[in-house]
């Protein structure tokens, strides 16, 4: 029998339905794989009992002849940004260490309602702020990938959803939730050779997701292939009255709608994404992606998104500004850490608690956000950034007159080594150069593996779509997937 951990979401779902194997066998295989993968540091909390209980429920329902739930028998990993009832939820921070929510996030509840089980809570950059997982309070996740140079330099799994990307790439989870504020699903997916989609802003409820930048945060699935992402996204999306920005729309049947033929579709290539110091491997992959989509029947058109270069600086005003406001709630009063030295007053308690509880990158972003929102600077920074955001969204709207989706690289490099960029915040921020513009415009965007670089590390291609056109994004990604023939996988060293 094949190793069950080699199976993705679709194969597990179908195999359990057909009775080829039981959900219990699947859950046992993955919980054992999780328990044996400690060196990756991908999981902060393991919840085998949750995965096994969901599996037993799936098996019992099948034995009773009930109609199968969409994800019956599929165990998944849950990013620690999602609040899970009775299971510690920390956003990989010290300030929320020990916090055990008395409620369940809408997205995780939807997944459990669909029959999925939870393998555990996944490590991440602290409060989703980072691109390498090095800002986690609980130590960085190590990518399962190694460069093919014989060296064993530990590599970044990307961030912020780095526990999710590492777990799926290492085949210790067939799928995982991620969240994406400026690229936190797509960049880690690209770094680890898996697929991940950020849907249109408002598709997935933000209720119960620990907030970073509310106008940008979106949940999405990370999985082994495009179809698995479609299946999982269907279970995660949907209207939620508890989120004021949730879209009151039917969830399309994305899996059933998958169609890799792009006949009659136009694919835009944004000229401004041709950055000066683009590595040759990535440029070559982008060209192969263009050829693949043309082969799938699409017409290729060059488009211009003139404000692209201003997206990253606008993002690093807007996201920290929203974060400084959102993270004001961590004050040592209602939950989490409290640092109250003898004789300290309330103000001192706030300041000490936050000094102790937040990591350096989180503090840096709160300070930047506080600065740009402070008296006298608000118009010059925040208002200007929101106006530039309008222009960036307008660039995309104009492009849609010429094309149906856009094709770009996902990240400007393959995975870098842990520690390589940690000393320079700006160098780290620049990693999001291709993912941030679509985040600012709220557009659906996906990373799909395209190949490997000279060092044998995965590279991703990004498809950006029109608002609400996840189907168009998934279809183009599927057309790439079918032609890229990406089969590379990390050798097991853990």
């Amino acid at each position: 029998m094949t190793d069950l951990t080699d199976l993705g979401i679709r194969d597990i779902r179908d195999g359990v339905r057909a009775g080829t194997f039981s959900a219990r066998e699947v859950a046992e295989a993955f919980t054992a794989a999780v328990a044996a993968a400690k060196p990756l540091n991908a999981f902060l909390v393991e919840t085998p009992e949750h995965a096994l209980a969901a599996a037993d429920a799936a098996d019992a329902a099948r034995a009773a002849g009930e109609a199968p739930k969409p994800l019956a028998g599929v165990p998944i990993g849950m990013k620690d940004l999602f609040c899970t009832k009775g299971v510690p939820s920390t956003a990989a921070s010290h300030i929320l260490e020990g916090f055990t929510p008395g409620y369940e996030s809408t997205v995780s509840q939807k997944l459990w309602n669909a029959g999925a089980g939870m393998l555990g809570k996944l490590n991440m950059d602290q409060f989703a702020m980072g691109s390498s997982n090095e800002t986690s309070h609980f130590g960085n996740v190590v990518s399962p990938w190694r460069r093919a140079d014989g060296g064993n330099a530990p590599l970044a799994p990307g961030g912020s959803s780095g526990g999710s990307s590492a777990a799926v790439a290492a085949r210790i989870a067939p799928g995982a939730t991620g969240t994406d504020t400026g690229g936190s699903i797509r960049q880690p997916a690209a770094f680890t050779g898996i697929s991940g989609i950020k849907p249109t802003y408002g598709r997935c409820s933000r209720w119960g997701v620990i907030a970073f930048a509310s106008s940008l945060d979106q949940a999405g699935p990370m999985a082994r292939d495009v179809r698995d992402c479609a299946i999982m996204l269907e279970a995660m999306a949907g209207f939620d009255p508890k989120d004021a920005t949730s879209l009151d729309l039917e969830v399309p049947r994305w899996e059933a709608g998958l169609n890799a033929s792009l006949k009659g579709k136009r694919v835009g290539i944004p000229m401004e994404y041709r950055v000066d110091d683009m590595p040759a491997d990535i440029d070559a992959l982008w060209q192969r992606g263009i050829d693949w989509l043309r082969d799938a029947g699409a017409e290729i058109v060059e488009v211009s998104l003139p404000h692209t270069r201003y997206a990253l600086p606008a993002y690093y005003i807007i996201a920290p500004a929203e974060a400084s406001s959102n993270l004001a709630r961590y004050d040592g009063v209602r939950y989490g850490l409290r640092d109250l030295p003898d004789g300290a007053n309330l103000q001192e308690m706030y300041a000490r608690t936050r000094a102790e509880g937040f990591g350096d990158e989180v503090k840096r972003r709160i300070l930047i956000g506080t600065y740009v929102l402070s008296a006298g600077f608000y118009d010059a920074y925040y208002s200007q950034a929101q106006k530039v955001r309008t222009l960036i969204a307008r660039d995309f709207e104009r492009a849609w007159a010429q094309c149906d989706v856009l094709l770009t690289p996902t990240a400007p490099s393959a995975a870098f080594a842990l520690g390589e960029k940690a000393a320079d915040p700006l160098a780290m921020y620049l990693n999001d150069v291709f993912t941030v513009p679509s985040s600012l415009a709220g557009l659906p965007a996906m990373s799909v593996p395209g190949g490997v670089d000279a060092g044998g590390l995965p590279l991703g291609l990004q498809i950006i779509g029109k608002p609400l056109d996840e189907q168009g994004v998934l279809d183009a990604a599927l057309a790439i997937e079918e032609r890229a023939g990406f089969v590379a996988r990390p050798g097991r060293w853990w």
């Binding site: 020990g98 916090f99 055990t100 929510p101 008395g102 409620y103 249109t200 802003y201 408002g202 106008s215 009255p241 920005t245 879209l247 009151d248 201003y310 600086p313 606008a314 690093y316 005003i317 400084s324 004001a328 004050d331 040592g332 009063v333 209602r334 989490g336 409290r338 109250l340 300290a344 007053n345 309330l346 103000q347 001192e348 308690m349 300041a351 936050r354 000094a355 937040f358 840096r364 300070l367 930047i368 506080t370 600065y371 740009v372 402070s374 010059a380 920074y381 200007q384 950034a385 929101q386 106006k387 530039v388 955001r389 309008t390 222009l391 969204a393 915040p425 700006l426 415009a441 709220g442």
Partner: protein, 95 residues
């Protein structure tokens, strides 16, 4: 744009984050570099452009004005660092 140490202290005070002298010295050039890089936004002509308020057009909903939650005091207080007599407790704020 330079961010001097006094400014770092003022911002940290507004953000309610205690910082040491060493941290203030380290943060001063770090924040300055980031703000320098952000300054390029000033080049963009935004005359007549409205600031973004919603990325996806969405009408704000109103729900019926009825109680939908409550009666869960124990659950609300369960994660409090300190709670007494059914309340969150903090150091004395009134002399």
């Amino acid at each position: 744009m330079s961010v001097d140490i006094a400014t770092v202290r003022r911002i940290a005070g507004l953000a309610r984050i205690a910082i040491t002298e060493e941290e203030a010295e380290r943060l001063s050039p770090e924040l300055g570099n980031i703000l320098d890089w952000i300054e390029q936004l000033g080049e963009v002509d935004t005359a007549g452009i409205e600031p973004m308020t919603a990325v996806i057009a969405n009408r704000l909903r109103l729900r019926d004005d009825v109680v939908t939650d409550g009666g869960i005091r124990e659950s609300v207080l369960a994660n409090a660092p300190q709670a007494e007599h059914g309340f969150f407790t903090v150091p004395k704020v009134i002399e």
